[in-house]
């Protein structure tokens, strides 16, 4: 029986980041939908779970956690023996392995996330919700993201995954925005040899495929 509840929709990149981690760790959970169209994420009840009024929120018998990257780390810390045991560093990697994961997770959060989220909004969510696209914003953010992916391409020429030899949270964190961007313009990733190789590998993981199935499931 799941004591874990995730609040949000699988279509939200941040929610899907958490779902990917739960599937990697083989941790059972219940998904509680949050109706963003009706403003449920700004309701007093939801704000008690997530005071910034955003998804996801995560609750178990011990605590309530928000911010998707913090939730992922909590899941890894709470269930060290379950599922994938190298998400926060190698099996016997200790401090150095954990630090490498932290470093590349910060790179995702600080360098990859801002331009990729802006592009996800422009290319996927704006048309979906009837907002006008901003060509200047698209151009600027594509240029910024290109610089980041150039750094990644060099790194992934020396290292199988971002933090080292194992798939970790640092790679996982890129799946949600990467998935949307590749569906809109696969050239960004696939024109770079090492980034392309890495993307094919991480997006083929069974845990991520389960998340995509949830995203594609019919509503209702």
């Amino acid at each position: 029986m799941a004591s874990v509840t995730v609040y949000g929709t699988p279509l939200s990149p941040a929610v899907s980041r958490v779902l990917a981690c739960l599937f990697e760790k083989d941790v059972d959970f219940k998904l509680a939908p949050v109706d963003m169209a009706k403003g449920q994420h700004k309701s007093p009840d939801f704000l008690k779970l997530q005071p910034f009024g955003q998804v996801p929120a995560f609750q178990d018998e011990l605590t309530t956690v928000f911010e998707s990257r913090a939730i992922c780390k909590y899941i890894c810390n709470k269930y060290p023996e379950k599922g994938n045991q190298t998400l926060m560093g190698g099996r016997d990697g200790g401090l150095l392995a954990q630090t490498s994961v932290d470093q590349w997770l910060e790179a995702e959060g600080q360098s990859f996330n801002p331009p990729s989220s802006a592009l996800v909004f422009q290319l996927a969510f704006a048309p979906m919700f009837g907002f006008k696209q901003d060509p200047a914003a698209i151009e600027q953010n594509e240029a910024k993201l290109a610089n980041v992916l150039d750094v990644y391409d060099r790194r992934l020429g020396e290292s199988k995954f971002l933090a080292g030899d194992d798939f970790t949270l640092a790679d996982l964190a890129h799946l949600p925005n990467g998935h949307i961007l590749v569906s809109k313009n696969e050239d960004l990733f696939m024109s770079r040899k090492n980034v392309g190789r890495w993307w094919v590998e991480i997006s083929a993981r069974p845990a991520w495929k389960k998340v995509v199935e949830m995203q594609n499931a019919p509503l209702g």
């Binding site: 910034f52 605590t63 990257r69 909590y74 630090t99 932290d102 997770l105 790179a107 980041v148 790194r155």
Partner: protein, 217 residues
């Protein structure tokens, strides 16, 4: 234990974040200056430490690290025997809250406050440019919404992660320190618990020491 090397500048916000951690744990360290105006941060020697060409970077023996929040965690874990525990990794619920509010700093607070500091202080003082008031104004509105959440939190909890000072609080220092020397410092007046929290954390000896190396001290 030999000290670590930090490549950066004491006036840089992200370097200051790391220096604060080193001061809090009482570690020995060497600060190696990187000459930004001459583009040293984009040269091959520094790119080998930080492939994004940014400061700070840390060297500890063979280990090289970038991203100030990751470096901060490394420092706090390496020196955890010092008795200063700003991560609470021995307690699942407490460490979760440290991560939550460190992410809040990273994903909510920082994107709102850093454009204000960048436009009103760094652009004119370091680059001789003109502040973009539209960016400042829209960022101020975002910052106020974030500060409303912080006010509610700090009305119930002495520090962000709980009743203990942690890396989550510390991480807010550098950009807030710089906001306080701009005309926009007054925004904190409307949030008394946030203001009290700020006065508390800036009274710490580590904060006074790092602050003295920053602009406007």
């Amino acid at each position: 234990m030999a000290g670590v090397k930090i490549y950066g500048k004491p006036i840089s916000t992200c370097t200051a974040r790391v220096l604060l951690c080193l001061e809090e744990v009482g570690a020995e360290y060497q600060l190696v200056s990187i000459n930004m105006p001459s583009g040293e941060h984009k040269g091959p020697a520094h790119l080998a430490r930080n492939p994004f060409g940014q400061i700070p970077a840390l060297e500890d023996g063979d280990l090289v690290l970038f991203e100030s929040r990751a470096i901060s965690k490394y420092v706090l874990r390496k020196y955890k025997e010092s008795g200063t525990d700003l991560l609470k990794e021995g307690n699942l619920a407490e460490s979760a809250m440290v991560e939550v509010w460190l992410e809040a700093e990273s994903q909510q607070y920082n994107p709102a406050i850093s454009p204000i500091v960048w436009q009103s202080l760094i652009v004119p003082k370091m680059y001789g440019g003109t502040p973009d008031q539209a960016i400042i104004d829209s960022s101020l509105e975002k910052l106020k919404k974030v500060l409303e959440v912080y006010e509610a939190r700090l009305s119930k909890s002495k520090y962000l992660a709980g009743n203990f000072f942690s890396l989550a609080d510390l991480s807010h220092f550098p950009f807030t320190r710089y906001l306080m020397i701009t005309p926009y410092a007054s925004v904190f007046e409307s949030y008394p618990h946030v203001k009290a929290w700020w006065e508390d954390i800036t009274s710490r000896p580590a904060f006074k020491k790092v602050s003295a190396g920053m602009l406007g001290s």
